[in-house]
């Protein structure tokens, strides 16, 4: 039986590029949704996920990544096959070039240009450097809006981070997220993250709360921070412009912290979806193992590496619950870094990822195994998000998840045709279940389009030398 389907485009044609939340008409659905929705689900959250090394597209075993078929009827390749249960919720985007990180066009390092440019659309200036003027990343651009009134403007989580030459330090080899002024260090210790985010989930009752120890601790913190705030204000008046600006940067972060205390003291009514995640034993995992790394990855920390799957699942659970508990609207997960110098004992791969990329000669089979495993992790994340009911719709429905890498492929380190996945939304906000061919355009256009999805109306993003006008058809909607 054929169903008459209204194309969403039919309805909004003439409305330009502004995304309009439309009432869901059952006739618009492809029959895939289990429940009819009567109210639109606005996009409220951005999740970004990074994995290193690109995707295997050539070499002795051929292309293991690119789907086959057509835009709306496609078969996932071996690397993406684990995502099949969620195929209707993803967009596989082809033909996006990481132009801003292209070492054949700009004076960028072949990995660092990708890490520095992936979420910023900005151009690194020489290996080992940041751009002279920082480009903010899309998550930081959206944070003030998406996390307004929430305890955290944004959260960055990383697993087995800053390996190899970066020696545990924040550098262009592993920095993906940027404020207006600086790269943002991620949180590394899963136990510390748990204690910080979920340590006192009941929150305080606030006011003159007498005996509640949480409330007392919060009031004590507030007194101290009030004192400290005044010290910064007082000192600023004695300094010249330059130094005052530096102190202002510190003070603005301090005020975020003070704000968090206030929000935690008198929190909004808890979301019904909010539950304390199970605390996972991560003994053996050293979050700062990379402080003791060798440039070539030859110092192996097998005990830590063995725990990566466990820690990854724990991080994803905390990520999802941080959103469900409305602690933030912007969150990211970074799987290692561009050096990727850790091993994969659970995949029986004794060498580190970079070795299989090219240090030991390109090993497509091993790279495929690694990338396929990452797809399994991505599936787990999406399923966790789909399972959270935010009040008539799932967390995934109200989120956009953007999966990216700093390279197109591990052997060539090229930047054309990057592996990009998007997930989430509803068909009113982002049309998933598609394999779109963007035609070989700079990925800055994707960044602009992503911002547009959230109601940000800008028409460009990132370095002005790169075309960043929003994606034309086939786009995200």
């Amino acid at each position: 039986m054929t169903r008459f389907k209204l194309s969403r485009r039919t309805v909004i044609r003439g409305a330009g590029t502004i995304a309009i939340a439309l009432p869901w008409l059952e006739a618009m659905g492809g029959g895939r949704r289990a429940r009819a929705q009567t109210t639109p689900v606005p996009l409220k959250r951005l999740v970004t996920v990074y994995q290193p090394g690109g995707a295997v597209r050539s070499g002795s075993i051929g292309d293991k990544y690119t789907p086959t078929g057509s835009e709306t009827s496609f078969t996932l390749s071996p690397i993406l096959a684990p995502l099949q249960p969620m195929q209707s919720r993803i967009i596989v985007a082809d033909g996006l070039n990481l132009t801003c990180g292209d070492q054949s066009k700009y004076s960028v390092e072949q990995h660092q240009g990708g890490s520095v440019g992936l979420f910023t659309g900005g151009i690194q200036q020489g290996s080992g450097n940041y751009p002279p003027k920082m480009y903010p990343s899309i998550d930081q651009v959206l944070a003030p809006k998406l996390s307004a009134g929430k305890a955290y403007g944004s959260l960055q989580l990383a697993v087995r981070w800053a390996t190899g030459k970066s020696h545990g330090k924040l550098s262009p080899m592993n920095a993906l997220y940027f404020s207006d002024t600086a790269p943002i260090p991620p949180r590394l210790d899963p136990q510390d993250i748990f204690n910080t985010l979920f340590g006192s989930i009941t929150g305080g009752t606030g006011g003159t709360g007498g005996t509640d120890p949480n409330a007392l601790a919060l009031m004590r913190k507030k007194s101290i921070l009030d004192f400290v705030d005044k010290k910064y204000d007082a000192l600023k008046t004695k300094l010249g412009t330059d130094d005052r600006t530096r102190l202002d940067q510190h003070l603005s972060q301090l005020r975020d912290l003070e704000n968090r205390i206030v929000i935690t003291t008198t929190p909004p009514p808890p979301m019904s979806a909010c539950k304390q995640p199970t605390k996972v034993d991560t003994t053996g995992y050293n979050p700062t193992s990379a402080l003791n790394s060798a440039d070539d990855g030859s110092i192996k920390d097998t005990a830590t590496d063995m725990k990566i799957p466990t820690v990854g699942q724990f991080m994803m659970d905390m990520l999802v619950m941080a959103l469900a508990c409305d602690k933030t609207g912007v969150i990211s997960l970074q799987w290692t870094d561009t050096e990727a110098k850790h091993t994969f004992p659970w995949l029986n791969l004794p060498e580190h990822h970079h070795f299989y990329q090219h240090d030991g000669g390109f090993r497509p089979t091993e790279c495929t195994a690694i990338q396929t495993w990452y797809s399994q992790m991505h599936l787990a994340l999406l399923q966790k998000m789909q399972a959270i009911d935010m009040g008539g719709h799932s967390l995934l429905d109200e989120s956009v998840v953007f999966f990216g890498s700093e390279l197109a492929a591990p052997d060539s380190h090229a930047k054309n045709n990057m592996p990009v996945l998007l997930a989430g939304g509803t068909s009113a906000t982002m049309r998933t279940g598609r394999w779109i061919k963007c035609g070989g355009v700079p990925h800055n256009k994707l960044l602009t389009s992503l911002l547009n999805l959230f109601g940000d109306t800008r028409t460009s993003f990132g370095d002005s030398r790169v075309d960043s006008s929003a994606l034309k058809s086939p786009g995200l909607t």
Partner: protein, 622 residues
Amino acid sequence: MVKTAAPSGIALLTAFALSACVGNIGSEHTRATGGTSPVGTGGTPNTGGAAPIGGNGGSISGVAGDGAAGVTGTGGTGGAPVVLDCSATAPGRSPLRRLTTYEYNSTIRDLLGDTTNPGGALPAQVDSKQNLFGNDADEQSPSSLLIEKYQTVAESVAARATASTTALAKLHSCASSLTTSNEAACARMIATSLAPRAYRRTVATSEIDDLVALYTNVRALSTTMTFGSGVAAMIEAMLQSPDFLYRVELGKAVAGNTAVKRIAGREMATRLSYLFWQTMPDATLFQAADAGMLDTNDGVRQQAQKLLDDPKSHPTVAFFFDNLLPIPDLAGLTRDAATFPKWSSSIGSAMRTEVQRMLEYEIYENTAQSAPPYAPGSWPAILTAPYTFVNQSLFSYYGSATFAAGTSVTGTTLTKVNLNTSQRLGLMTLGGMTAGSTISSNTNPVLRGSFIINKLMCRNVELPVGFTPMAPDPYSGKTARERYSKHSSAAICAQCHQYLDPLGFPFENYDAVGQYRASEKWTDPMTNTTYDTPIDASGSVPGVSGSAKNAVELVQLLATSPEVGSCFASHWIRFAYGRSLADVDGCNQQTVVNAFKDAGYNVKQLLVAITQSDGFLYRPAQ
């Protein structure tokens, strides 16, 4: 890293910018980050910096190439050195500096006796080419996570400092005889004693009042808030204050000059102690500051000498070299066990201590002229030192041929031994340096040359745009020189490699584990024939005439290069100033390098000379 070329390599080469390799004499040094690329990693285009005074014709702030054919940069060799008019006081920038994690740890240790290194919980510091020593003030933009962690770390430090009556008594003896009526007074005594040390300056009564008010407010929150908790609140507040975390400098007025301020008193004490000891001033230094002894150039000089002579300066000098030289990871280097059965983690570790001990000895202890014509304790003497330090296990690792005839070493203590100077001479030929400058089981002369040209000569050699570096073809030669010959045969490569490779080839006599070899064994993978080819270790130093037939001769050429002396000085200046250098620092540079040269390039005198520069004695007015 090296990798195979993409099939479209030729197309990429045609896009190569011919002016990419402008051997910048006088440009800011770059940090060759390990194996990021076979070519020295490029730096930010900058406005001058380390200029060789009386050197190779570079201008102080200009970009001068070596005048080699085909390089389209502004060329020029052998021009007259530029001498600046440095009569005006020109300190350059003095950006507000925050304590680094290292400094935070040592300051908390010295302030409160807390030896747990709590700074480990702070988020990763920003690392970049500009931030070689981790203390560049322009790379210290605070993140939200950092401020959050300052709070949690302060809480744990304060909790430890107030955990018991014994702990509290260390803050002030009044805490061992507390009563409800004298608690508040005791809190005041603790604040009065702690705040001036925490803030590294004198503190107004109103500031003490504010701290005591905080104590009172916190105690009033609940009857469960103890004296200790109230005092802890004061400590937490101090440790998060800008007066503690930042090195605030307001300076003193200078007669007839409103553009600059003099750094004096406790602000100078702070500059001196963080430069030489990477921690807060001790009581003696505070007293000297308060007595006005740091208000004159000579006074500063005398204190600098004193701090340098104190054992507390040794870790700072070691810290400097740990960040400049490829030695921190020696214990972790993995080498192919079949090819290098004698290599082990403990040998790597021992090699690191060998390098550190040799440097410490030459800089601090040596009074004899071990490396004529160079003065003891000088950088060129270090580069050409005919001795090293080994213990028994290193001695047997290297083998007796490494050392002067008749040398014998037993035991675990590092002992000074003379080298066989036909094989090795100076810092660069020590096992730790030659192993550390190799990132795999195969030597890479380009990486080693890149280290010298970037870090020891401060010449900025950039990775070319549009060019994917190609690994040497394994079939093309029995020695590294043959395999890398394309660098000189292809004009496009030669532009940069004509400087880099001749610096690295002489070190081919040292393999990936720092052992000496006169020939290189190589197996042709096609025929499985093994060749053993004598190594041609000839090379040269850009800007220095003459050629070397091996590393022993090369380091002697290197030691004569004024660029090398000037570059070493500029690293220390950057470490001391906590920022990169700009055009306006020409006089700072000139003052320091001239003094360094006059002192025969003595390292300790260099550090003292830095304290006599405008950039150290003054700051721009706020």
